[in-house]
Symmetry: C2
Subunit: 409 residues, 2 copies
């Protein structure tokens, strides 16, 4: 008998018919297994609640926002439990607080501190399917909290860790993790397995299938995460600890992120503390900067470039012009539409020349590289947005992702 944690997102439970479908999907997995099912709020419910709040207040109190938003998942769990009863199965719903999901007090973006899983365990031992409201918990001072973006995935992974589940299945619109976005690369291939670190990089670099927080948690506690389709009963991608044979593959996938903008401050006097001054000032505007590149100094001056979410672009340009003047820079140049393309693979640790292969591939297509950043298992290039698809296809071909792995599987 296995213990399986499943998670279904908002689009999988968007209406009554879809909830009934999820119930059928759940009971198909039930044969002899213990099941915990984590669900999100129905479709647009959360948006509707946020809209109510913003009609009351421009800056709603985070504690009350959590009180409000937590109702969304609570509705889904009750309905799903009823649907499971309708199929003749024992099931019991639990809110985040009831399932012992304890968090810190950072409302709207709380972090899980511990899980008291006794009630869930008791229900499982009583032969019940445990239905859990994702995204929510109870703080140290007994206030309802929510976990922020991707919170339901995190609930599922954390419960799987606490209950020592055999697997955490994340059901989504897509049927797994691909070597590249199949909308752009027709011969992109579903990966049967991917290492935690690769998934982490891909999540950070634009792949939307899993949030980095959940992958980090899964890695920390060694929870195998199976990303699969709500609608197609086929195996998806298993996110798992790194295995020896994974290193034989140099590049696992190509990701891209087209939601970025780029700003550069030109000819900043190059003296100690200048980067701290510039990025300290940006931090004060609450803009989250992604990639940062500083060129080597020439004549006592340097250029600093960084990328940021396009939605923050307008605000950032204004702030940067002020900062540029304060630090005596020559000026600020900016580009609202850039794309970041990245290659990811644990095999890069043991293979050299991967970055240069990437640069050569882009050069062959006449794509100019504006910024470069690397990590142990990823290389990212900022390019003109209009070349994004072309770049992804070129890299996918260059590293033979459509065929090389096919043979290996």
């Amino acid at each position: 008998m296995a213990l399986i944690v499943q998670k279904y997102g908002g689009s999988s439970v968007a209406d009554v018919e879809k909830i009934k479908n999820v119930a059928r999907r759940v009971v198909e997995s039930a044969g002899g297994n213990q099941l915990v099912v984590v669900v999100s709020a129905m479709g647009k419910t959360t948006d509707g609640l946020v809209n109510l709040a913003t009609r009351i207040s421009n800056s709603p109190d985070p504690r009350e926002m959590d009180m409000l938003l937590a109702t969304g998942e609570q509705i889904t769990i009750a309905l799903l439990a009823m649907a499971l009863h309708g199929l003749g199965f024992k099931a019991r719903s639990f809110t985040g607080p009831q399932v012992g999901m304890r968090t810190d007090t950072a409302h709207t973006k709380a972090r899980i501190t511990r899980i008291n899983a006794e009630r869930a365990r008791a229900a499982l031992d009583a032969g019940e399917i445990v239905v859990v409201a994702g995204f929510q918990g109870l703080s140290e001072v007994d206030e309802i909290t929510t976990l922020g973006r991707g919170g339901s995935d995190l609930t599922a992974v954390a419960l799987a860790a606490a209950l020592k589940a055999d697997v955490c299945e994340i059901y989504t619109d897509v049927d797994g993790v691909y070597t590249a976005d199949p909308n752009i690369v027709p011969d992109a291939r579903k990966l049967p397995r991917i290492a935690y670190d690769e998934m982490l990089e891909m999540a950070s670099l634009g792949a939307k299938v899993l949030q980095a927080r959940s992958v980090e948690f899964a890695k920390k506690y060694g929870v195998p995460v199976h990303v699969r389709s709500t609608f197609k009963p086929v195996p998806g991608t298993l996110v798992t600890r790194e295995e020896r044979d994974m290193e034989e593959v140099v590049v696992t996938g190509v990701t891209h992120d087209r939601s970025q903008a780029k700003i550069s401050i030109l000819r900043v006097p190059d003296r100690p503390g200048i980067a701290a001054q510039v990025f300290g000032a940006i931090a004060e505007t609450n803009i989250v900067v992604d990639m940062i590149v500083q060129n080597i100094s020439r004549d006592g001056y340097t250029d600093m470039s960084f990328t940021l979410p396009r939605s923050d672009y307008g605000r950032a340009v204004g702030a940067l012009q002020d900062i540029g003047r304060k630090v005596g820079a020559q000026g600020v140049v900016h580009d609202e539409r850039v794309a970041k393309v990245s290659i990811v693979g644990v095999g890069m640790r043991s293979h050299s020349g991967v970055a240069s292969q990437m640069f050569a591939a882009l050069a062959r297509e006449g794509i100019n590289i504006q910024m470069i950043s690397t990590s142990e298992i990823a290389v990212s290039c900022v390019i003109e947005d209009k070349y994004a698809e072309l770049a992804v296809r070129a890299l996918h071909d260059t590293f033979a992702l459509g065929r090389e792995r096919e043979a290996a599987v």
Copy 2:
């Protein structure tokens, strides 16, 4: 400094604008007082949730129904707290479980067993307006429960008792308790005060302003309940313990209930156990019978009549015909449309002849009385439904309710 518990129903918080209005109304009462505000779900929210559940299941599990319905009030408390913040006041919302409302395990109609009001007390002491989700609690086994019809009033009265509040204000569509329905009796008068027992009878006999359960609770713990208008800032009606001068008034009010039907079983053999047999069989159909009258026996046979909610009428007639055959009755007659008119007043205890005055008044109008039932402080008559308004006006005049009390106040 007074401690005031206020309760606003679903129509008072039906949308964002109305919630903002309630917030303004609340802060008008705030000057120097401690405030607890109990709210219901917004307008049609509960109906919408019930509809979702019935689309999933014909007989939803009561535990899951409570899990589902409790979200309605939780949405309102968060929004009201935000609205109070917007007016510059400190406020904190609490679900039923958070406010320490403990109940038994009778899901969908739980009874309050005790209240641990420490959190509410601490928030009040910190200068916060305490906003509480009505209608809900936490069972002995830590399950979310709901209190059934009129549950939010009950939450307010129970919290007022637990916190030893100076008054429990119930804000509604009407601005108080009237001597009769003002829609029927133009010179009906708002009662400045009414005794718990009178309010109890009036609630049971058709007055819709307060549920009998809440009045019983208020009486038991001596909570003064002020029934008043959400929309007009004028005093309403204080429901309070009986005072000496109240007995000087014989009849306090006239109520009517037009949602009733009547069924009679004719010529039932009059032997011991026959009533138990008949009403036992009715009870098995889950139909709640209101008034029961059995005539004296003639020739070893008797007639039994009872009233019941019109919505149960069709089901009841069928069941009664079966029962009638079993007990050897002559037949069953029924009337789908009857009305019950009642007079209520604690003064009846010390005044005689009140019932005969009532019967005479109805006779003067040519209204035939079909059934009569009396309690210590009320007399009720079942009449043809078409005479309901006429009867109420005649009784209101006969007992001089429009003028007599006016002078006394």
